[in-house]
Symmetry: C2
Subunit: 145 residues, 2 copies
DNA sequence: CTACGTGCAAACGGTTTGCACTAGA
DNA sequence: TCTAGTGCAAACCGTTTGCACGTAG
């Protein structure tokens, strides 16, 4: 599956003047295998031959090349990382307050539509140029209840 | 205005077995005066006689007593703090990618309604018990454009 | 050859903690 | 009086950086 995904990633990197090196590919593959946002710690644990500093540097490069996205978190386990929405499809997150895990969800089209309209309304009303939005539901996942 | 707000805060603290001390009151007043989410650094700069460790400890207490809320951020300036939604009213945030500031916004009731319905739909579909939601619009504020 | 990428170890900085002291009921 | 709260300084830990080496083009 998805050699085309790697091709798209390489294209974005090269467009930004960067290479799709082995280390960067390993990082992406760990992320794809997980199928959910991972912390840097999780990336390092799951990936072979990933070093801390290169992971952080590559997060910067991959984010600037619009391949990845960093998700802020209140917890003490640092930033989480996922594929950019252009590559992974538009989705949002459930944030379990008990186990701290993020779970991907896709909202009904009508809700996304309402959100997009709200963004444009805010833009007209406040002058804030909204490039995107993030919705997070917090609560407790099925297995933690 | 809003002695009743301080009364409500005191009630919540006492319900959780804590006191509404001077330090905690000073922290709340700095936050009220700002009228937007503040970082810990900003709290310390604006407040007289606030010490780092007490601020962090009090954030924990005030959050556990449902008086405050911490907002995660990707930036390097740490967590941001605002009044709990029960006290401040339901609202969301514009996140300027240039200056990093968070701006409060209130969404049209119809959008909030759609979001609430979406939460319940997710609950039925996935078993995730959603206690609340957070929407963030990112882009660039009027003065940074 | 030359610039980009990598790994190690040290530095950095936001947050937490140990401990002695203070204040509120 | 007695427990909760506070301030200082040190510890902690996620993240960044300097530097020497490796690698792709």
């Amino acid at each position: 599956m998805a050699d085309s995904l790697h091709d798209a990633i390489e294209a974005r990197l090269e467009q930004a003047g960067n290479r799709y090196t082995r280390g960067r590919r390993r990082l992406i593959e760990v992320l794809l295998e997980a199928g959910r946002p991972l912390t840097v710690r999780e990336l390092l644990e799951r990936g072979e031959r990933l070093s801390t500093s290169s992971v952080y540097r590559n997060l910067g490069v991959l984010e600037a090349s619009r391949v990845l996205r960093q998700i802020p978190s209140v917890g003490d386990d640092g930033v989480r990382v996922e594929l950019h929405e252009d590559l992974a499809g538009q989705h949002h997150h459930l944030d379990c307050s008990s186990c701290g895990q993020l779970i991907d969800i896709v909202l009904p089209a009508e809700v996304e539509l309402a959100l997009s309209r709200a963004c444009r309304a805010v833009q007209r009303a406040t002058g804030f140029r909204a490039d995107g939005h993030r919705l997070e539901l917090f609560g407790m996942c099925r297995s933690c209840q």
